[in-house]
């Protein structure tokens, strides 16, 4: 990390200039990869049943994104134009395989649950899109900022959707090391003589689409500039 800092201070434009801060901030809301650009939606729908899965998936995507952007940006003057897409694909695929192997070694249970979706990060349009559109034409500093911005934009949607789905679908959020975090009193549940029951629809994939839709709705009603005719 220290080398990164020294490198960027040598450049004329500060890493935290207004322009670069926009790179970090915009993808969180106004150019969000999932809700505005509708990229990477497949994994967002599939693995948001549990918060824990979403956290691991977000971290994996962030790692691949930052690593990919940094490498592509460093090599941007060396990559031959004719094969640039293949080069990007190889870099992304290599990083994804590393993530997959590491998960298998250190998080075997999560790895089992995520199964094919870690491998499918390779085809996540957000990553390829940012490498092609940004990292290939920009210096490492801004490229990494852009990667973090878009990765976080992807991550917060995933976390929000999975939190909603887990709370209403399973009744409690379970995180490793913290056990089950319940939100409703036990006595409310039908099994204990109450009136409340977990909503099974929340666990099924269509509900992810609906929750993402609700987020898009809120976002557009707050910022009218996003509404298309």
């Amino acid at each position: 990390m220290s080398t990164e800092n020294t490198k960027t201070t040598l450049k004329k434009e500060s890493l935290f200039s207004k322009k670069n801060r926009m790179l970090l901030k915009d993808p969180l809301s106004d150019t969000n990869p999932i809700t505005i650009q509708v990229l990477g939606i497949c994994s967002a729908l599939a693995i948001t049943v549990q918060l824990q899965q979403a956290v691991i998936m977000s971290l994996s995507v962030l790692f691949v994104m930052i690593g990919g952007s940094l490498i592509v940006s460093l090599l941007r003057n060396m990559i031959p134009d004719k094969i640039r897409i293949i080069v990007q694909l190889v870099i992304i695929a290599a990083l994804v395989i590393i993530v997959d192997e590491v998960l298998k070694a250190y998080q075997p249970d999560v790895s089992e649950k995520l199964s094919v979706f870690v491998g499918l990060i390779i085809t996540n349009c957000i990553i390829m899109g940012r490498l092609e559109a940004f990292a290939l034409a920009n210096k490492p500093g801004p490229s990494v900022m852009d990667a973090i911005g878009n990765g976080m934009g992807y991550a917060w949607i995933l976390l929000a959707v999975s939190a909603v789905r887990e709370v209403f679908g399973s009744g409690a959020i379970s995180l490793p090391g913290m056990g089950q975090i319940t939100f409703l009193p036990e006595a409310w549940f039908i099994a204990k003589g109450g009136f409340y029951e977990n909503n099974n629809l929340m666990i099924l994939p269509p509900m992810a689409l609906i929750v993402v839709g609700i987020i898009i709705w809120i976002q557009r009603s707050r910022n009218e500039a996003l509404i298309e005719d």
């Binding site: 020294t6 031959p80 004719k82 094969i83 293949i86 190889v90 192997e101 298998k104 070694a105 075997p108």
Partner: protein, 281 residues
């Protein structure tokens, strides 16, 4: 200071490189791809090799958990080794004719190739399934089959591993038999890539709980998995609606594998009855 100097040196080297080489040149493109593939390949090979021991240990823990599920004992990855050691008293390997090959007690040793726990059943079973002699008879030599003898609440239980194929990929499981070697005490199944909601349901208790208390027939087919709702007798269970091929896969793997183990159980039974007879005389 020193760092800045090297940085400028590297930068100017890049600049010279940029000017000196025409990047649209086909030769450069080839060179770039070759270097890229070698570097990436070496990196991935190194990662894979260095993480292999950890992944293997995880797979062994998972195997213990699965075996314990068949005898209705729950454990976690952290406790699997201890719980396994406390319930599983003997690990036996038999050959395809049903003769005892080896018997090991004590802790599982992942480095001991003779430990029945380390037998790669997926590989061996596949070979056993496909290898035939010139007359089309199944070749019964050269493979060993693991069997786990467990003690639970004073009862002796035999856990038989079964491996087969479902609709999309491998399926496997463990069937626990009581000490009459006919009654099923419990079963647990798992799959790699069966369809979620359909074939993938074989790993749910709703499917595997049906096996409890059922018994095996004396001759093949030892057990049946029947179209949902059709299971009437004591040696069959309901399959999964919409998961017919996976259900049939469970049936096939149970019958094929039990065929081998029942040979061994038969020899055990004759030994037992012999010893009973001699005691009576």
């Amino acid at each position: 200071m020193c760092f800045k100097l090297t940085l400028t040196a590297v930068k100017s080297a890049f600049r010279i490189f940029d000017m000196a080489i025409n990047k649209n040149n086909t030769g450069y493109t080839f060179l770039f791809s070759i270097i890229m593939v070698v570097v990436v390949g070496a990196g991935l090979a190194y990662t894979s090799l260095s993480l292999k021991p950890l992944q293997k240990a995880n797979a062994a823990d998972k195997q213990m958990i699965d075996i314990l599920v068949a005898i209705q004992v729950t454990s976690t990855r952290e406790t699997a080794k201890e719980v396994f050691a406390s319930y599983v008293s003997e690990r036996i390997s038999i050959d395809a004719k049903g003769n005892l090959v080896s018997k090991i007690t004590g802790l599982v040793d992942s480095k001991n190739a003779l430990d029945p726990f380390n037998i790669d059943i997926k590989k061996d079973y596949r070979a056993y399934k496909t290898k035939r002699d010139a007359d089309g008879n199944i070749l019964r030599d050269g493979y060993t089959f693991p069997l786990y003898v467990c003690k639970k609440d004073g009862k002796k239980l035999y856990v038989v591993p079964v491996v087969g194929s479902g609709l999309w990929g491998p399926i496997w499981g463990y069937v626990a038999l009581e000490d009459d070697m006919e009654t099923i005490f419990g079963a647990a199944f798992a799959h790699k890539t069966e369809t979620p909601g359909l074939g993938a349901e074989i790993n749910m208790p709703s499917f595997s709980d049906q096996f409890q208390g059922k018994s095996l027939r004396e001759a093949a087919p030892y057990f049946n998995v029947i179209k949902s709702g059709g299971a009437t007798d004591d040696s069959s269970v309901d399959g999964i609606t919409g998961g017919t091929i996976t259900s049939k896969g469970v049936e096939e793997m149970m019958n094929r594998t039990l065929d081998v183990y029942l040979r061994y159980f038969k020899t055990l039974k004759t030994v037992e009855s012999d010893s009973l007879n001699t005691n009576n005389q």
